[in-house]
């Protein structure tokens, strides 16, 4: 192991994302260093194996899908209740505003008649 081997050992985990981390001098060293080649090979195998894991199946718990859909049903119902409650509240506010406007109008008319 040389100093350059140590330097490359530090770089190698990052090489999986960015090959440009390897300078021409580093590349030349790897080309003639069996130890660095072996190290690079380990990381490559690790990378391939991790990528393979995505395509593997895991045992899924029974009933989970049903639970997910039930949770969504509950969330939908809550959302609908909020929507209806919001509409009712808006209607009540509208009704209250209309009533207030009506009462205000009557009061204004009454005041004008008195002053006339």
């Amino acid at each position: 192991m040389t100093k350059q081997c140590d330097h490359l050992a530090d770089l190698m985990p990052g090489l999986l994302d960015d090959q440009n981390l390897l300078s021409p001098e580093d590349a030349a060293h790897v080309a003639q260093c069996l130890s660095c080649q072996a190290e690079m090979s380990r990381y490559r195998r690790l990378e391939r194996t991790l990528q393979d894991l995505r395509d593997l199946a895991v045992p899924v718990p029974s009933g989970l899908l049903e639970d997910l859909l039930e949770d969504l049903d509950s969330a939908s119902e809550r959302r609908e209740r909020h929507r209806i409650a919001g509409r009712r509240a808006a209607s009540l506010v509208g009704l209250a505003a209309a009533t207030a406007a009506g009462v205000g109008g009557v009061l204004v008319l009454a005041t004008r008649r008195r002053s006339a």
Partner: protein, 210 residues
Amino acid sequence: MVAPVAATDVTRLGQFEMGTLVADARGGDRRAFDALVRRTWVGTYSLALRLTGNEDDARDVCQEAYLRAYRGLRRFRGDARFTTWLYRITANCASTHLGRRGRHRHEELDDDLVVSDLSPAVDPVGRAESARLRETVQNALATLPPRLRAVVVLRDIYDLSHEVIAAELGISVSAAKVRLHRARRRLRDDVFLRSEAEGSSEEDVDDQAV
């Protein structure tokens, strides 16, 4: 527990079909969202399991992720794949969940968690070797601290960008890269160096026996 199901069923579906379902679900069609759940839940659960290393936690994370996705579907702009968006939510939920629990799991994967290989390989010896390596990698992943495991799972298995990983885990991009670097080194040590050391010590015992 039911039989393993391929985590990549969704990839066999046309993205067009997924896009239509997403559009309908965004328009308020619950049945369309249910269809999305049916097509993605195995992949989502798999990610949650890999991030948490525990079936109960994975189940909780999966449920929370779909509720968040349902509530936030209008915010999904469609500039990424739906599954990628879902993986981001799942990663965020797992991070929150594990943070809330305030514990770090280092236990080995249960036997039940060893995944089965559904992809056929031509070479039986190579297939056996690959299967052994996958199992070793999975065991090594399970022993990583959750904060290191999260970045390597999201980057190297699910191919999310450093920026996305950092955003979902609530850390800086440079911190995500440092964690990834450490995680890969630890995996490399656990997967290769220990097995090589064990192999050589077995050889030593054999030599002494002779």
